[in-house]
Symmetry: C2
């Protein structure tokens, strides 16, 4: 493939950035790649791995001459990074990000950027419970969605080029406005993660059920929660701090429903429980039909 | 393998019974197998499949001459089945079950059984989100736990024989008293299922986030919840009605923790969130070390 960008700069070298670097190299999407990370240890690992062509010590150095800058830092670090790189951005460069929240990133980044760059926020819906530069792999975005949230006055050519980059890495691209993105993700990702973290925390707290029993018998359902609850703590802290309103709203709905089911259990109202459990089954079928999972009977199985 | 039982009767022919029939046939654990189901349609399917040697129209017929009877019906149906089969049970037969709750099964079944049979309650920690006689497969119990909860005065030889049956199907066997089983499972299975059902129900209710968006972007975390929430509604209704006390207790702990995290989000207390999310990560490592999951980075991936 003809490279879409001549020089791509990654700010932050964790799971997403390292997966992008592998995917872009494999597909020949960038002529050159640079990168930087706040932690000296991460920079050393990335240099050892040859993850990108040049690992720079500062974000300002990394973005020099880049026609694409990808912000891959936790949402809470976006403001500081934007201030730092702004004076060093090349004329006509595209700046994008991979944050899980979009309005907060726009609020943190857009005010600092010069008029001569294109800012197109993005969010690839892909991840694993692992983090760091060694956790990336080229297939991470295969058959996944990447949501871009361009502003009203965006440059169509810059958007098209960035869309083709994501498609070149195997993803499908969708456009959305930032507040709607944040609400959809509060439902499909942020609240489920908080709930999983909570359930795992409860299990950890219980003294009568020893840790080893919880772990030993985890395949009965709990295991899927622990996988979710093993994700990067800093990233998730920032998600909840920056998508506060939508998360609290969905949490409110969640506890309301949970209390209704709890009351049904207490009262022995089997009909209420059965109706509820029947309704949720249909959603699962929709997901399988939409190609976002398979019907293989692997729940409770060791994955190989 | 020399057959452990000469005639095994399955009462109920769903996921667990059909998986047991496949596993026992493959390993040569039973000389003959009979079975029955309340639904005429299920009996017809089982006959067509040749799932067992003889599909009987009544539970009374099925248990005739059996030296092992396996109750594979929802927990709420155990009492009626026990009454029906009691007069027909062979001298010295073992009666077991596969219910997800143990004390309620003991309360429902034990009073009806004659003294000349051995009642050894059991619970294989294995399943998928599918149900019915066609959903079974011989590997379901491979590398899974089966918990047996024999009473104080149990017959050691009968327990040993049943344990060897489960091991012959690939499972590991653990012994536990029934109330402790019910508490452990409330933590590792029952409460996680209720929470997953709730979250999926909330998503289904939201009108601003359309169904199709929830499904389309499910891979961001929600998908794992829908898999859990697609399990058999009747079975789960009975679990919550019969393991009421333990489930309500764990739910109380859960909402207490959830409210603390919710308050941290509202107040912007990032340190609290970060500490909590760091702690839960360790549990995940324990599960991988215990061999109950792999470390493969497949979260958010299409499983093949």
């Amino acid at each position: 493939m003809t490279p879409l960008y001549s020089r791509v700069a990654f700010i932050g070298l964790g799971l997403i950035a390292s997966s992008m670097a592998h995917a872009m190299r494999r597909a020949g999407l960038a002529s050159a790649m640079t990168g930087t990370a706040r932690s000296a240890e991460t920079r050393i690992i990335a240099r050892e791995m040859g993850l990108v062509d040049e690992v720079c010590d500062t974000a300002a150095d990394a973005v020099e001459g880049a026609d694409l800058v990808v912000l891959c830092v936790p949402v809470g670090a976006m403001d500081e990074i934007a201030r730092e790189i702004a004076p060093h951005l090349a004329e006509g460069a595209t700046v994008t990000d991979v944050g899980s929240v979009k309005q907060a990133v726009i609020d943190a980044v857009a005010p600092h950027l010069p008029d001569h760059v294109h800012f197109i926020p993005g969010h690839p819906l892909a991840g694993t419970e692992h983090s760091g530069p060694r956790s990336g792999f080229a297939e991470l975005f295969q058959n996944r969605w990447c949501i871009l949230t361009p502003s009203e006055g965006h440059d169509p050519a810059a958007l098209d080029r960035l869309s083709r980059l994501w498609k070149g890495m195997g993803a499908s691209v969708d456009l959305m406005d930032a507040p709607h993105h944040d609400l959809v993700l509060a439902v499909t990702s942020h609240t489920p993660h908080l709930i999983a973290y909570t359930m795992v925390g409860v299990a950890d707290d219980l003294r009568r059920v020893t840790d080893s029993e919880v772990i030993k018998y985890s395949a009965a359902g709990f295991r899927d929660f622990t996988r979710i609850a093993a994700s990067d703590p800093t990233m998730w802290r920032d998600v909840f701090l920056t998508n506060k309103e939508a998360t609290l709203e969905i949490l409110g709905r969640f506890t309301e429903e949970l209390f209704a089911l709890q009351r049904a259990i207490r009262r022995g109202d089997g009909a209420h429980l059965h109706d509820y459990f029947t309704r949720t089954r249909a959603i699962r079928r929709g997901i399988i039909e939409a190609g976002q999972d398979t019907d293989a009977p692997d729940f409770g199985r060791i994955k190989s």
